[in-house]
Symmetry: C2
Subunit: 201 residues, 2 copies
DNA sequence: ATTTGTGAACAGTTTCACAGCG
DNA sequence: CGCTGTGAAACTGTTCACAAAT
């Protein structure tokens, strides 16, 4: 069997594969089917699944539901619920309010923060909003592990520092900035501008 | 000098480095400075710049402005303006309307599309909105090259097919779906849910 | 004394090739 | 016979080590 460490690239592909399985019409799916949908080499898909320690497809393709469960289990997702917060309620941040975006996932938004006290009072949302001064207290009280950062670029590092010192373990960074964090804090960069520059070849 | 092909990982790092240079307070910056801010090994930064063919820092660190220009030139960005569109005006899509998000970049949003004709009529924006049926015509007329896809998951592949057949060359995909596109079309996946699952370890 | 530029060494990822299962 | 599981081979990306420049 394979190594215990699952590389990030494999994890990323497996998350996309989970989504693909969610809309796949048939019960059975082969590595060649997946390859046609995603553009990844069929051998790579088989190798990824081998890394996960999965071998339920011997010689006859995979059963969609069983494969989905096996991947979710191997990646350790869709288990107990995880608490998140949104930092920055202008622009993108406000768009995430009241959204069903996290529906059907293990993530729940427990709080929104903004340094503009006015905005916190005006906006409506299904979860409570707080001024940024209360971040440390609320994050600890609500046991929040993850943050989505949608502040203006100039505030990005400052807010990151506060999130880190409040004990957050992962940040989805929607700003263009490089965030300076301790090695144990995970960051995923999701800037639209940087993404446009990636495809601008 | 280095190979002509710049790897995607290097390109991603260089885009972040550009943003870092934008806020760096001093005129001079060394590979160790960059390493401290980003967590990347200093040797990797030097190697990246070597790949870009840049060697303006010999033995004395880099001049911020010169380095910035050299990177932008090597990546071929910040040159002529590029036209973009937003597909899907609910949720995230609407948040991108009227936003200064692309300010100071070479990208301009020229159009927004939605299959809901009502929404197209109600929303206000600094660029024109059209029903999705006009996508093919408008994208060609306005010479739009890039799209930000913020539709519901169930419409993602269908809208992608229309974008591709209208001649789009790159898509920023904010849905969770794997998009099936021809090899020459570039896709950057920016799903918040997938990102949360990446940092959920 | 620092700090880059550079290729070689090393580590990680993808592809290949094929045995073996159903 | 089509399809997976698996390790080896090929390839890509990162780190090291040090000569050269100031």
């Amino acid at each position: 069997m394979a190594t215990v460490v699952i590389p990030e690239v494999t994890r990323k592909r497996m998350l996309l594969l989970l989504n693909l399985l969610g809309v796949w019409p048939k019960d059975k799916i082969t590595s060649v089917d997946i390859s046609e949908q995603t553009g990844w080499k069929d051998s790579l898909i088989r190798h990824d699944l081998w890394l996960l320690g999965y071998n339920g497809g011997v010689s006859n393709g995979y059963q969609k539901d069983e494969l989905r469960n096996a991947i979710a289990l191997a990646l350790g997702i869709e288990t107990e619920p995880k608490n998140c917060c949104i930092v920055g309620l202008s622009r993108l941040g406000a768009a995430l309010l009241d959204e069903g975006m996290l529906e059907g996932t293990c993530f729940t938004i427990k709080a929104g923060f903004d340094s503009n006290v006015n905005r916190v009072e005006i906006l409506r949302s299904t979860f409570p909003l707080y001024p940024a001064t209360e971040m440390n207290y609320v994050i600890k009280r609500e046991n929040i592990r993850f943050a989505v950062l949608t502040v203006a670029d100039k505030d990005a590092q400052h807010m990151t520092d506060r999130l880190v010192s409040a004990g957050i373990t992962g940040i989805v960074n929607m700003t263009r900035c490089v965030l300076k964090v301790p090695a144990e804090v995970k960051v995923e960069n999701l800037s639209v501008v940087n993404a446009l520059n990636m495809i601008n070849k």
